[in-house]
């Protein structure tokens, strides 16, 4: 569910810090360096990277293609190959039988089994196309706000890591405490009170 969807789920972030050199160029550089790589003809099972909002299957961050008005708009793409366990099991059983017949042995060692499983998984991964998942991002650089179009915890962790690696800026997730501390214009005295707050007793 992204920006174009009729219903959206959004996690809000505060971008901690500012870019010191040319902003658009630095962002473009970070996006290009960490753009998604195709893994369809590879044994890799998962790829995470940035992609373009309008052309998510042909990432392009040339010029200011990701700048829309005062916003930076792009997407996080996670490609995954989910190799069914039953498929691995089938090939493992067949391959094990072949090897045993060849060597006239009754069993494979634990290490041999493990190595064979890895080989099979890797061969299947090359033959299997990946499934892409897209999560849109609106970054209001001036306001240090970022809106990420998913609430999935595992995907939130992916963006937090990739964003920091790409732009050297940490993302702070907006939760009740950070919303109070960072977005509510509190004075130092009010911040001290916030730290000492405990739940209200609504009942007498």
């Amino acid at each position: 569910m992204g920006i174009l969807s009729s219903a959206a789920s959004i996690t809000r972030y505060r971008v901690d810090g500012k870019i010191k050199s040319s902003v658009v160029e630095t962002v473009a550089e970070g996006l290009k360096k960490n753009a998604i790589s195709e893994i369809d003809d590879d044994a890799i099972e998962k790829a995470v990277g940035w992609t373009s909002f309008e052309t998510p299957f042909q990432p392009n961050f040339d010029g200011s293609s990701f700048v829309y008005g005062s916003l930076f708009v792009f997407s996080l793409r996670i490609d995954r190959k989910q190799i069914p366990t039953k498929l691995v099991k089938k090939h493992l059983t067949l391959e094990t039988a072949k090897r045993l017949a060849k060597t006239s042995r009754r069993f494979l060692s634990k290490d041999e089994k493990q190595a064979l499983k890895e080989k099979i998984t890797s061969e299947l991964a090359i033959r299997m196309p990946s499934t892409p998942n897209l999560y849109d991002i609106l970054w209001d650089y001036e306001k240090s706000s970022l809106y990420f179009f998913t609430n999935l915890r595992s995907v939130n962790e992916e963006i937090e890591g990739l964003f920091k690696r790409s732009f050297m800026l940490p993302l702070i997730r907006i939760i009740p405490y950070t919303a109070a501390d960072l977005l509510s214009d509190l004075t130092d005295q009010e911040r001290d009170i916030l730290l000492s707050l405990s739940p209200t007793h609504f009942l007498n």
Binding site: Y68, P176, Y177, L186
Partner: protein, 177 residues
């Protein structure tokens, strides 16, 4: 700033108190929201509310859902010590409406349905569409941010104990649903 995972658990009650305060405000001072956003003609409770009671050893969860569902059970749950943990809301301007849900523990917004605009018919229209859509999405997020800011300012002031809490308690025990 304290560690976020510590802060998440230590201050999650603030989100639940915020939503509970919001429900109280919707029922007792509906004009309040126009002061935050002059476009707002009404903020209403939507078709889902989740309440959680964390007073005991285990968490008791009550979900009220469905169009036109009565909120009496929700108020009963509040009287037993529960707080609103998730709330579906409808922001009305008279002409348009935004529907969305917000969770107390992390303030995440889900199911946000802003009004229009129609999907672009050509790539040339994409930028205009996107900026329009973003503006409509951010309108509601900014509105909620303003409300939370007001809540926090109240929550850390002496007014919380002297005025807001008595009003909340009075509402809690009133039959005004």
């Amino acid at each position: 700033m304290i560690d976020l995972s510590v802060a998440y658990n230590r201050y999650r009650f603030l989100g639940d108190e915020f939503l509970t305060w919001l429900w109280h405000l919707i029922e007792t001072d509906s004009n309040f929201f126009c002061k935050i956003d002059s476009d707002c003609s009404a903020l209403e409770i939507g078709n889902r509310m989740v309440l959680e009671n964390r007073k005991g050893k285990s968490v008791e969860k009550i979900t009220i859902k469905g169009d036109g569902a009565g909120l009496e059970e929700g108020k009963l749950a509040l009287q037993k010590g529960a707080l609103v943990a998730e709330l579906a809301l409808i922001f009305n301007t008279g002409e348009h409406q935004w529907q969305f849900s917000i969770k107390g523990e992390n303030l995440n917004v889900s199911g946000l349905k802003p009004p229009g605009p129609a999907l672009p018919q050509s790539p040339e229209e994409m930028e205009k569409f996107l900026l329009d859509k973003a503006q409509r999405i951010l309108k509601i997020l900014n509105f909620m941010e303003m409300l939370f800011k007001l809540f926090i300012k109240l929550r850390i002031s002496t007014k919380w104990q002297s005025k807001i809490l008595p009003s909340l308690k009075k509402w809690l025990h009133s039959g005004g649903l």
